[in-house]
Amino acid sequence: MRVALFLTCVNDTLYPDTGRAVVKLLTRLGVDVDFPMAQTCCGQAHYNTGYRHEAEPLARHFSDVFGAYEAIVTPSGSCGAMVRELYPRMGERARAEGRGDTLAATLAPVVPKTYELTEFLVDVLGVTDVGAYYPHKVTYHPTCHGLRGLGLGERPRRLLQAVKGLELAELPGADECCGFGGTFALKNSDVSAAMGADKVRNAESTGAEVLCAADNSCLMHIGGTMARLRTGMRPVHIAEILASTEEEPVV
């Protein structure tokens, strides 16, 4: 099976390790991964800040780059939700504005083929034990767009539970937003910081060494708060845990 990795602009620029982990993991599971070099950004930041018309060319670009692949895998719940939930809506809005079906038709092919990483592993590859080894106490934060947008449900936790050596600690108030929310963190910084601090305190109460999530944007916010509050906990993307093996551990 040949799939395209949609890494997302944030991961490409700031978190290349996550990308390498995805490649390593999928290759180990027998998947042929391609990284289309022309990929950029799904347009979510534009769309959610109110610049829908600026987001449209980005969505079109996404479809041009990825349209021909069998499946598109992304290690980001929120960018996955952008394609699956909001691309169809962009098409509808364009139609409602009297601009015809062109946008909807352009975007339609990528919508059902786009999978968030854990969804791809469980639903498409049908695995929950990916042969990983990670001897740490870990707590899992389900990010909002993964949880409510994509409905990832128990998939990430099932994958983590199957990891050898990993002890999974339940996070109190797990389904509460961490306060990142894209430009929300800048525009409503006080509220955002308070939400982040509460999330970190909840995570600390579990006694875990690592907080794991399927979205680096949320992890950037949570991790930045952890560092400032000097908790000693680390944020780690779920792909890096799943990629870690006894022979080649990721610390």
């Binding site: 290349p16 390498r20 070099m37 534009h46 930045g224």
Partner: protein, 492 residues
């Protein structure tokens, strides 16, 4: 809407104070988390919740689509049952109508059933200005009134107060308004409730005029419905000689049967009760039973304009259960006052900028008062996609566009203060449609990473004030991919 909130600063500023107030945050956290858990249990008990939610959504959408027809039907039914219907285009008109109606009775005081519509229009203040005293009889509303405070929650307007604060307010203020609080009042719930009961009883028995809102109006029979927990509403609805109900035009349902849906979803969503203790219905007037005069004031105040917006109109489905407030992480930290309206929380963030327009600083900032986490949509018993409307209103703020105001189509200009953001978004769009430019930018960032500041300038300062920035890696992913041919030449 009410003049009480004019001149509010933008939401982020208004929220800052609340975020720093630990008592307030503690009160809110405790209250919202308790009710949140109870609601989830009450909802989980119903096997067909998803169907009920869908039915509620459909009934409301159908009614809104044919609102003109159902309003005429309602007017006919109310009139036939012996009531008088008045139409109010805005807050001033509604206040004027009610004030005149009270004056005609010759009374100078009225008792009130808790009502969002009368708060929206600032009725108490308008009556006060004409020498008429309005007594709130809902316990939480009484606390707000005695405390010369503003409501901060739809259902529990005094949610920001704890028991100690309530005791102090009662002890200090009750004598100003009627029977004083008993000597040595403590902060036990039973004593506080008893003090309020004795204080209010006097008012119920004396009042000749009652003022209410309504949760629902049934078009086919002209019946109004109030759903409540304490029973004080029923006293106000049955004891006075004259009853005046002020109700938003969107509160209509076509038939009695439709109530079946909402009388299940409303109590479970709002108070987490299977059924609320008091459901009062009244239809016009009945000789020898209840008020002998009944007036219904139908309030528009921006609702028809909201109805004209395809995406935003779903906000009018709201049944004011307040479930969205109780799950909202932003409301929990910012408190209700920061929203600058009687409608706080997620529903307030989408309703106020539609009813009032996005002209003021506070209204232009409300669509951003959310992290778009989606918890509000998930709990809403009429499935209002609040995040969708928020994003839609953000678009209106930054790009302007056509809206309906007072029945006329007008073209809004983009709000001020977004020019730099707009330029940045355009630049980012350009870079993202030119992969080469993106790559150059990434490489520059990587090469200069040693020189990156630990704090950010401009709007980024807010971020780096409370969080550490992630370090920029030595090499963006795409360079690694090309250098190692996707890891085939070794991982490093």
């Amino acid at each position: 809407m009410s003049g009480t909130y004019l001149g509010m600063p933008a939401f982020p500023e208004a929220a800052r104070e609340a975020v720093g107030n630990t008592t307030l945050r503690g009160n809110l956290r405790h209250a919202t988390h308790t009710i949140r858990a109870k609601r989830a249990t009450a909802v989980a008990e119903v096997s067909d919740w998803a169907e009920l939610r869908e039915a509620g959504k459909r009934i409301k959408d159908h009614t809104l689509r044919h609102l003109d027809r159902y309003l005429v039907r309602l007017e006919e039914s109310v009139t036939a049952a012996g009531g008088v219907v008045h139409w109010a285009a805005d807050a001033d008109e509604a206040n004027e109508i009610v004030t005149q109606l009270v004056k005609m009775t010759g009374e100078s005081e009225v008792v009130k059933v808790k009502s969002m519509a009368t708060q929206e229009i600032g009725l108490n203040e308008a009556l006060e200005a004409e020498g008429i005293r309005a007594y709130e009889t809902d316990l939480a509303e009484l606390i707000v009134q005695l405390g010369k405070d503003r409501p901060s929650h739809i259902l529990v307007p005094a949610i920001h107060r704890n028991r100690g604060e309530i005791r102090d307010i009662f002890a200090r203020e009750m004598s100003e308004w009627g029977r004083p609080a008993p000597e040595g009042l403590t902060d036990t719930p039973a004593e506080l409730a008893e003090a309020a009961r004795v204080h209010l009883r006097e008012k119920f028995l004396r009042a000749k005029v009652g003022i209410s809102g309504a949760n629902f109006m049934v078009a086919e029979t002209g019946t109004l419905v109030v759903v409540e927990s304490e029973g004080n509403g029923r006293m106000c609805l049955t004891l006075p000689e004259t009853l005046i109900s002020v109700v938003g035009i969107e509160k209509i349902v076509p038939t009695w049967r439709d109530l079946e849906v909402f009388l299940q979803t409303l109590p479970r969503s709002s108070t987490a009760e299977r059924m609320n203790p008091y459901t009062s219905t009244w239809t016009g007037t009945t000789g020898g039973d209840g008020p002998s005069t009944f007036h219904l004031v139908l309030l528009d105040n921006g609702r028809t304009d909201t109805l004209a917006d395809e995406v935003g109109r779903q906000a009018l489905r709201c049944i004011r259960c307040s479930a969205c407030l109780n799950v909202c992480p932003v409301y929990e930290r910012a408190g209700g006052h920061a929203y600058g309206s009687v409608y706080p929380g997620p529903i307030g963030a989408i309703l106020s900028p539609q009813l009032r327009g996005t002209g003021s600083e506070i209204d232009a900032s409300l669509p951003y008062a959310s992290s778009l986490c989606g918890a509000c949509y998930e709990v809403c018993p009429v499935a209002i996609d609040i995040p969708e409307v928020l994003v839609h209103l953000r678009e209106r703020v930054v790009q302007g566009g056509e809206v309906t105001r007072e029945g006329n189509k007008v073209v809004l200009r983009p709000a001020k203060g977004h020019a730099a953001e707009r330029a940045a978004m355009r630049a980012a769009r350009w870079a993202f449609t030119h992969p080469g430019a993106l790559r150059t930018g990434q490489r520059t960032a990587s090469r200069t990473r040693r020189f990156h500041p630990r704090t950010l300038p401009g709007p980024g300062r807010a971020w780096s004030g409370t969080r550490e920035l992630p370090p920029v890696p030595a090499e963006p992913f795409r360079d690694w991919w090309q250098r190692t041919r996707g890891g085939k030449d070794g991982d490093r």
